[in-house]
Symmetry: C2
Subunit: 101 residues, 2 copies
């Protein structure tokens, strides 16, 4: 079974991600993203959805027009695990690539 | 400019939709949907996204695994309009078709 990161491990991992923060009152991490428009935001979500399905690890996310808010946690471990860090890393890569243009 | 529905108009329209309710403290409508799994939920969202873009009228929505929560309102009119009812009607049709199988 996948183990929950310790507070120290989580802090170390968060420092290597882009724009992620710990959620207050919950063992989860959060990132707010802003795109050019809805087309770009939903295109981003589609790339993440395909990856999430491949990983069998899914985000909690909210979208309105060009913004996407993502919360990651591992329900089975009741906290943040390596799976969340791996998905967050992929999200950062896609966001960076899309926002580069 | 598109006009905001009166309270009476909104009530009449809501009664013809499926599972939608008025949001407390905000002129908006809300529906919670549950699908078989993430694949089905995100497939549903993709159909709605394409329609929303075509209508140039976008939802506020939240997804986690097999659930989707949708809030509709028209920011330009500061309340619920015919555009929201039209999008809600489309959402109902797609949801019904997908949940029929």
């Amino acid at each position: 079974m996948i183990h929950k990161l310790t507070s120290e491990e989580r802090t170390t991992q968060l420092a290597q991600l882009h724009g992620w923060q710990a959620v207050t009152g919950r063992d989860a991490i959060f990132r707010h993203l802003k795109f050019a428009d809805f087309n770009e935001a939903f295109g981003f979500m589609t790339r993440i959805a395909i990856k999430a399905q491949e990983m069998n690890h899914h985000p909690e996310w909210f979208n309105v027009y060009h913004t996407v808010e993502i919360t990651l946690t591992t329900h089975d471990a009741n906290g943040v695990t390596e799976r969340d860090i791996a998905l967050a890393r992929f999200i950062d890569e896609v966001a960076k690539a899309m926002q580069r243009g």
